[in-house]
Symmetry: C2
Subunit: 407 residues, 2 copies
């Protein structure tokens, strides 16, 4: 029962390997056009250029009077009130010496170049349409409370770049530009296989030495949140021929295989054994937890072998698969990375990048949830952040600034 | 054409009004039990108590040898190697003077109270099962590299509280506890009505004075992300009787009506006019943008009237509806609130809570995207954060610390 020697690499080097493994999946035939709302949470597959100006025309920023600024140059000028301009109307030319009641968002009449807000007018209310009336207005410079055509974005300018994550704000811009469809990358099909003789499905009886499978739920929900199309095979035992058969059967329908467990240096490592004849390397990433990793191809299909502890699984997903998918396909969105101060001291293995779980407080401090142990799934469930302790650091004091990723 | 006088309230007071409006929707008949993965992104509707210990049994944190610590008290002790313990097995009692090869996660044999990692053993590899062998081990205290039963959470302890947002970590914990279903609040049914004679559907021709409707896309996608069940009626014109008819038709199937536009103090305010005989108040919230708001009931169904500019709509959703839903129903998750330093100075109307759009940089500074204008939807699409400038502040210098919400 020997223990295998493996290569050790940095977090960055392994992330680069994952990128190289998945980059060939970014092919033109993955691109599809979807209605805007169906594209929510996906990544933009082609640059979008603005087909129109935004705003499309000069319009009023306030309820007030559209005027020619030269007409009120002296201030305290009395102007004749003409027909009001509601939003959505195409107004007539504004005659010199007149003021047109104009509503927020309504088109500026040709000839007008400024708006005086109603609050600055005397009287400060609009006459009824048709009523003969005048209004006295202060001076207002050209452009006063006018939103110029194209002041948000001009026709022909880049609106959104390929690889942009499509959230509400981005889809809102596409709608504002009059677009109804958008090019996105079709979701990757993930084959998710959890392994281990000790692992049983939730809901079954729990014999001695057995634990419930939380990896499948942790990873499938993470992957679904990331917009991936997940197929689960159920739990594989630790018999290599069972796992190999299962992978051989399902691999042709997958873009990427993700396994959990069986990648370490121990005596019963089912994923290693099942992949012995395949082009898969098992290595150590200088990271805690989540160090043991597998990467390569199984029957030509990309494979990532995550370690078996639930926290290690989640951190493997967050450190490698999630950011690389975001980079290659524009989805999922990157985790917001923020700076925070540690609420308590911590230690870390100097040669490893440690990822701790914690809660970021509104005051900008972050406290640890549970210890470093990769089995602490209750502590994970009470965390809202991952705390990064880079390689080379053995201890951090209370108050030290750290990078945290918001979960 | 008079302008209506309205009450002015603070952001906090209006949020409290929204809470009072929606709290009656949190009724027991909204609670349903769903399989874990179907509950992703929803809010927990009942406390969950751990039915089992986690871990369920004492297990090894390392690949190594399970021992009785008294047997190695002197250090450099030679012990007879017995049958190995793979993960998932129910091990026999460990006889005094023996060491059992044990894999990470495997159950500690009765009698053993510590693990010596394989790296510290001489020799530092496991003998083949059945081979007669001894191993020399250093001393190890009781509990060394042992994960005690219940050290993550004990049976009977609260696991997750009612109102918890169910993301991957929370669902992973429920799976680890052996649960297959969870009680959540059924999604609210939202009737979303955008209004305005100036607004046309994306994809249609754009006449003079017209703009494309981005509010519907911004809000529907925000609401879908928040787990809500959205019905759109299409755009209503500015004829009050058309809007009132449309609301009367659809209200019976909605838990909440959300309108956009027509809530201000101007002359053509369709939502105000359509709701004249209903119990709806139109008021000014001391907030920029998003000040004009409507709140009440239409034919007994709760109504929120958001203003008509796209940025105002989104900010109304983020400031009022989103946090109140999270508080009442546990979903959506709160926006991560972080502290950041302004990359540039800004000014703000002293009497209002200003919400600017910006980009939080990895170095912890936040820069503004576009000006304060509520029509700047391209600037919004390039932002990842909302920047809060509380009421009472008229200017902030470069480098000032602000609260930002990550979008």
């Amino acid at each position: 029962m020997h223990r295998t020697q493996t290569r050790s690499v940095s977090v960055e080097a392994h992330r680069e390997s994952v990128r190289r493994l998945l980059a060939p999946l970014r092919t033109p035939d993955r691109i599809e056009r979807l209605p805007l709302l169906a594209a929510l949470g996906q990544g933009l597959a082609a640059d979008v250029v603005a087909p129109v100006d935004l705003p499309p025309f000069a319009n009023s920023q306030m309820d007030g009077f559209a005027i020619r600024s030269v007409d009120v140059a002296g201030g305290g000028t009395e102007l004749r009130v003409v027909a009001p301009i509601p939003a959505g109307a195409a107004p007539d030319n504004l005659a010199p010496g007149t003021a047109a009641p104009i509503m927020t968002g309504a088109m500026m009449p040709p000839g007008a170049d400024a708006v005086v807000p109603i609050e600055q007018a005397v009287p400060d209310s609009f006459p009824y349409p048709g009523e003969l009336a005048t209004v006295t207005l202060p001076s207002a410079p050209t452009g006063n409370f006018v939103r110029a055509a194209g002041s948000d974005i001009r026709a022909g300018e880049p609106a959104l770049a390929v690889g942009t994550f499509l959230g509400p704000g981005q889809l809102g811009l596409l709608a504002a530009l009059g677009l109804t469809e958008v090019a996105v990358y079709r979701a990757l099909r993930i084959l998710l296989v959890t392994t281990g003789d000790e692992v049983v499905e939730p809901g079954s009886p729990l014999g001695p030495g057995k634990i419930y499978d939380s990896n499948a739920t942790l990873l499938e929900s993470s992957m679904r949140q990331a917009g991936l199309d997940v197929t689960r095979t159920g739990i594989s035992t630790d018999r290599p021929e069972e796992l190999a058969g299962l992978l051989r059967r399902h691999a042709p329908d997958a873009d990427l295989i993700v396994t959990t467990g069986g990648v370490s240096k121990g005596a019963y490592e089912v994923v290693r054994q099942a992949m012995e004849s395949q082009d898969v390397e098992f290595l150590g990433v200088a990271m805690q937890p989540g160090g043991p990793q597998g990467i390569g191809t199984f029957d030509g299909v990309p494979v990532l072998g995550f370690p078996g502890n639930p926290v290690s699984c989640l951190i493997s997903f967050e450190m490698f698969l999630r950011p690389v998918l975001g980079e290659l396909f524009g989805s999922p969105a990157p985790r917001p990375a923020v700076r925070a101060r540690l609420a308590e001291a911590l230690t870390s293995p100097r040669g490893k990048h440690q990822v701790r779980r914690g809660t970021l407080e509104p005051n900008g401090t972050v406290r640890l949830e549970g210890g470093a142990g990769s089995h602490l799934v209750s502590a994970l469930a009470h965390s809202n952040a991952l705390i990064h302790v880079p390689e080379g650091i053995a201890a951090l004091a209370e108050g030290a600034e750290v990078e945290v990723w918001m979960l």
